[in-house]
């Protein structure tokens, strides 16, 4: 089935951009086809290629979708560098195939999955989510994936599992921002780790994501596999995941280690709890001129029950 795309994008534009960004992956794919015609049908989808999914209307928003060009050139992905355009400029260094995802910890059936097997684990759906960055800007993005709960149930968490930890790939050859050097001091600790409480991870909104805008996930957006947790600030949605570990204790998270008073474990979008250095009351939607008010839970009120009775100012 063909997927409806954001209105502003011309389809020709998307293909050109994607081919340009993923020339390496494209050529590798082409080479694989030439060398092994027999397995051509099984060749994994390269970033930028179309990815079929069923559009899920339940998550449609009145907000206009962010332009594909903006969503793929304005990114925070410190593994590539601290500038917004570093991920798009350096995306070619990441090799999203072959890719394994180790799922272990407090589970009955620990397993290391090939990413292509994960993708086939459940029907892919397209959901349009708001993305609110902790820095005060936001986007609206049509993601492709399925609920993370599908994967977690497959490994059968034990009764003592209370949290889920996500780890991003460490490889300075693929992620130049991880290179040690004089100019890289003060950075994050690698691997980038993020975490959710198990009930947050099992919430139907939490999306294990492999594509966006009807395409395989571009490298700069966290290829080949990431999570998207739309009611939390963007940095909570770990990218390029190689390990998912279930734990009994709250996992240490990368930004919390770097600046504990600024980035809490929960980091739910909350206009009433400011970042210590700036207000979170408003945000700039990419593509719009005026700031707009930030919504509690980023507009996803259905998660409020997960936090009833919690002091959101203390557990920020």
């Amino acid at each position: 089935m063909l997927i409806k795309r954001g209105g502003e994008i011309k389809s020709g534009e998307i293909t050109d951009r994607a081919l340009y960004l993923n020339r390496r992956a494209f050529m590798a794919g082409a080479a694989a086809l030439a060398l092994a015609p027999g397995v051509a049908a099984a060749a994994p989808p390269a970033a930028g290629q179309p990815l079929a999914a069923t559009h899920n209307k339940a998550f449609d928003l009145p907000d206009a979708t962010t332009k594909f060009q903006d969503a793929t050139t304005y990114n925070n992905f410190y593994e590539f560098g601290v500038n917004k355009d570093d991920p798009a400029n350096l995306a070619g260094t990441l090799k999203p195939r072959p890719w394994k995802v180790q799922v272990d910890g407090l589970v009955q059936k620990p397993q290391t999955f090939d990413v292509d097997d994960v993708i086939r684990m459940a029907p892919l759906e397209e959901r349009v989510y708001r993305l609110r960055c902790v820095e005060g800007w936001s986007m609206v993005i049509p993601w492709i994936g399925f609920p993370l709960s599908v994967l977690l149930k497959r490994v059968d968490p034990t009764g003592s599992a209370k949290y889920v930890e996500f780890s991003t790939l460490v490889d300075p050859e693929q992620f130049p921002g991880q290179k040690k050097g004089f100019f890289n001091f003060g950075g994050l600790d690698w691997p980038y780790t993020e975490g959710l409480r198990l009930d947050e991870a099992l919430h139907p909104l939490t999306l294990l994501t492999v594509g966006m805008y009807g395409q395989v996930l571009p490298n700069q957006n966290g290829a080949p596999i990431r999570v998207v947790v739309p009611w939390k600030y963007g940095f909570k949605s770990a990218k390029s995941i190689v390990r998912i570990r279930l734990t009994s204790d709250e996992p240490k998270t990368a930004w919390n280690k770097a600046a504990p008073q600024e980035y809490g474990f929960y980091s739910n979008v909350n206009p009433k709890v400011d970042h210590p250095r700036w207000s979170q009351a408003t945000e700039r939607r990419i593509g719009e001129f005026r700031r707009r008010p930030t919504l509690m839970w980023n507009g996803y009120d259905q998660v409020a029950g997960l936090y009833s009775g919690m002091d959101l100012k203390k557990l920020y």
């Binding site: 601290v82 593509g287 700031r291």
Partner: protein, 214 residues
């Protein structure tokens, strides 16, 4: 240095200081201001304010270390350009970023240390720019004028802190600016101590050169 060389030098400084604005205008014309143009323009103007300010603060150390006198003649021009870029940076924040949301901006100035020091730096630059003319120096008297213009050190400190406090921790670039500022101030301190020791008196020996002290 001949008068013609001085004029040529100033032309070069004018061109160099206007170039970032030209590049910004060109990028705006090309539609190349990233997905978040307001943030990009704010950062661009802020970066260049800090760079030009630090270059203006490097003129005296250049004279101390290399015994050149010509850098001193560029301080005023560089300082005024720093003030010009700071004003543009502020206007973008006022008009484009917050669109005259006075209450929220007022709260930010009080509550957010990085905005507090940023506003302080801008406000302190205004009396310096206003008294940058030869007439103002004459009216104030050299000694008083020099004392007033030492405020530029406070401006430099505030500007460096502004960037340090607003940037996310993993971004190393504010530390480079802070290091440059500390180095420039250290050279002044070293020179001041050296002259004090050489003079053997509690106050530094007045320098024969024009515009000493700032």
């Amino acid at each position: 240095m001949t008068a013609r060389a001085r004029v040529a030098l100033k032309v070069v400084v004018w061109a160099a200081c206007l170039a970032p604005l030209g590049v910004l205008g060109y990028r705006a014309f090309e539609g190349d201001l990233t997905a978040n143009p307001i943030s990009f323009v704010t950062n661009w103007l802020g970066d260049w304010t800090l760079r030009i300010l630090l270059v203006s603060l490097a003129m005296t150390p250049l004279r101390i270390l290399l015994r050149w006198s010509w850098p001193i003649a560029l301080r005023r021009l560089l300082g005024l350009f720093a003030c010009f870029y700071a004003s543009l940076h502020f206007c973008v924040w006022l008009v484009l970023d917050h669109f005259f949301a006075w209450r929220q901006m007022g709260a930010d100035i009080v509550k957010r240390p990085y905005i507090t020091v940023g506003m302080t730096a801008l406000l302190l630059m205004i009396p310096l720019a206003a008294t940058s003319t030869a007439g103002a120096i004459r009216r104030l008297g050299g000694a008083r004028w020099r004392w007033l213009h030492r405020l530029v050190y406070v401006v430099g400190l505030c500007a460096v802190l502004h960037y340090l406090w607003l940037a996310k921790k993993a971004n190393p670039s504010p530390y480079y600016y802070a290091a440059a500022f500390i180095l420039l101030m250290a050279i002044r301190a070293w020179d001041w101590t050296r002259r004090r020791v050489a003079a053997g008196s509690p106050s530094p020996r007045p320098s024969p050169q024009r515009g000493e002290g700032a």
